[in-house]
């Protein structure tokens, strides 16, 4: 097998029925159901190698979660092929189920009314983890996530962040080779997000696990993934290096300027495109290649109080990709 995860022209269509609101709508739906096919995933192809960390980006309903569910064997694909670790996911063989994990930020596997340790022990038995290994893995997870005091508390009494830490631990007790993480940081505060992020990076570094991550928080993706796959309306829009995408969509750096007195706008324009200028501040887009000498020239010609270079906001870039404003993104080329 060439790649650890292979996805070839994978499609998943759902049939949903529609109902007008209200009683009349209910009656109409009862006698003549209107069906509509939703193409959640449409002919998506990509390959992922062992140890890679890949970010799935896309707006709500783009097909990210559906793709992960197909790869986890929860959903039967409508057409196309998926292969993970040499297994066909939807056949759900035990040997396959023992080698990956799916963490869903909005779904839980921990038993609500019992302490997390109870679920851990059941997982140990079900995944057939030898006792010594279990102790070692639990200790490692405890070191990284500081689970200690949480393990004996009822799950329903844990905070969201505490619960997520325990969910992650429960999902990793069988030391999976492949991690599908669907919004693992959703609803968490910034500090906890960073904790989870560091943990995922550390886990990948230590065990060489392959990670596919979806997140609405761009920071998760920028911190963890060199490679991103952008999906929208079920279709693959981009697959490749994150930096390369940024440089392509935004071949400029953002130069933020602070002045002591109102600057001459026309004078500013010769250094780059003026994105914003109000009163004593201005924002310029300066071509990447000439960023440093442009700044030097500018400083020598204009009185500046403060000067600052920034990368373009990732959110803006991704929004441009979604909006179809970026031409010539041909994903098939890079994933072939």
């Amino acid at each position: 097998m060439a790649h650890q995860i292979e996805v070839e022209r994978l499609s998943k269509h759902y049939q949903v029925h529609e109902k007008e609101p209200g009683l009349a709508g209910s009656l109409r739906a009862f006698f003549a159901r209107k069906y509509r096919v939703v193409k959640a995933v449409e002919a998506v192809s990509f390959n992922i190698d062992a140890g890679e960390m890949v970010g799935f980006l896309g707006p709500n309903g783009a097909g990210k979660t559906t793709t992960l569910k197909v790869l986890s064997g929860l959903l039967y694909p409508t057409s196309g092929r998926a292969n993970v670790l040499g297994f066909t996911p939807h056949r759900r063989q035990n040997e396959y189920l023992k080698q990956f994990t799916l963490v869903m930020g909005q779904k839980q596997q921990l038993m609500w009314d019992l302490p997390p340790m109870e679920t851990f022990l059941v997982n140990q038995a079900i995944y057939e983890v030898p006792r010594a290994d279990f102790q070692a893995i639990l200790k490692e997870l405890d070191d990284l996530l500081e689970l200690g005091p949480l393990l004996k508390k009822q799950v329903r009494k844990l905070s969201l962040g505490e619960r997520m830490k325990c969910e992650l631990a429960a999902a990793l007790l069988h030391r999976p080779k492949v991690l599908f993480l669907d919004e693992p940081t959703i609803g968490l505060d910034v500090t906890m997000q960073a904790r989870i992020r560091d943990f995922i990076a550390e886990y990948n570094r230590r065990h060489g696990a392959t990670v596919i991550l979806t997140s609405h928080y761009m920071a998760d993706v920028t911190a963890l993934c060199d490679r991103i796959i952008v999906i929208d309306k079920g279709r693959l829009l981009y697959d490749g290096n994150f930096r390369a995408l940024i440089e392509r969509v935004a071949p400029y750096k953002v130069l933020k300027l602070q002045f002591e007195q109102q600057p001459d706008l026309s004078a500013l324009a010769q250094f780059g495109a003026v994105a914003r200028a109000d009163g004593l501040t201005a924002v310029l887009h300066v071509p990447r290649a000439h960023a440093a000498d442009t700044a030097a020239r500018l400083l020598s010609q204009i009185e500046v109080d403060d000067i600052n270079f920034e990368e373009p906001a990732v959110e803006d870039i991704v929004r441009q990709v979604f909006a179809g404003k970026v031409d010539g993104l041909s994903p098939e080329v890079e994933s072939a």
Binding site: Y14, K69, L74, L102, L114, V122
Partner: protein, 262 residues
């Protein structure tokens, strides 16, 4: 597998203890057995009905109470909600069929209920004059096998009903139908011997009698010899058939699982 079951049992037992009050409340649903017993007692005051004396009715309904508790199953509710709300997903990710967790939940509930119920039933059987039970090593063994079979039939039939939730959101309506059939045709409303002979012979071939009445008949010494062997064979044939049905339905159903929710 034994180790996996032990771990699941531990978990289920923990849940049962957590929800023990609920277990005791469910025990109250057995009042129906007691009411039917009182009805038949008043009818049999004038003399035996179809060979059943008052003491026989007491024995029949008391044993029936135990069998009913040991064979109760309700996993269709849990399963159909899990399917329609997408909560089945975490269970499908584990390398063990979700039915096994339901089985252990079912068993551990029984332990609690038996602790409460057994002393009452034993006391009633001892204190009622004229009660005679058929107790030999062979009949005890046959009783145990029949209770296991009764449990398996009802549990599997109920689980099949739960599986229907892969296609319909109204699956639990069917579980009420199944429960109703067990009450009427399984020997709770009346012992099978109270039905017309034609119905009785039809019931020999249907699964409902083997969900309950058959075990009571063994305990009362009404099913012996060839009758006993035919009953056990028919019962376990139904177990096998329902097991195959469950596996087939599951395999089909899982294809249309939507794994709804994020």
């Amino acid at each position: 597998m034994a180790r996996k079951y032990l771990a699941l049992m531990r978990l289920s037992w923990g849940l049962s203890l957590e929800y023990r009050a609920e277990g005791f409340i469910w025990l109250m649903t057995n009042l129906f057995n007691v009411i039917m017993l009182l009805v038949w007692l008043s009818i049999s005051q004038a003399g035996p009905v179809n060979g059943f004396s008052s003491a026989d009715f007491v024995a029949y309904y008391m044993i029936g109470l135990i069998v009913r508790q040991l064979t109760a199953a309700w996993s269709s509710w849990e399963l159909s909600f899990a399917i329609s709300e997408g909560r089945l997903s975490p269970q499908l990710l584990r390398p063990i069929h979700p039915i096994h967790q339901e089985i252990t939940v079912n068993w551990s509930e029984k332990v609690l209920r038996m602790i409460l119920l057994l002393p009452i039933v034993v006391a009633v059987l001892i204190l009622t004059p004229g009660v005679s039970l058929h107790v030999t090593p062979a009949s005890l063994l046959a009783f145990a096998i029949s209770v296991a079979g009764a449990w398996a039939i009802y549990f599997l039939a109920d689980y099949c009903v739960g599986i229907l939730a892969f296609w319909t959101t109204q699956a639990t309506a069917f579980s009420n139908v199944l429960y109703g059939l067990k009450i009427v045709l399984g020997g709770i409303l009346a012992p099978i011997q109270m039905f017309p002979p034609a119905i009785q012979s039809l019931l020999e071939w249907l699964p409902f009698k083997y969900m309950l009445a058959f075990s009571s008949e063994i305990a009362l010494g009404q099913a012996t010899g060839e009758r006993l062997l035919f009953g056990l064979a028919a019962q376990w044939a139904w177990v096998l058939a329902l097991w195959l049905l469950m596996r087939g339905l599951w395999r089909l159903g899982i294809r249309s699982y939507g794994a709804v929710g994020a």
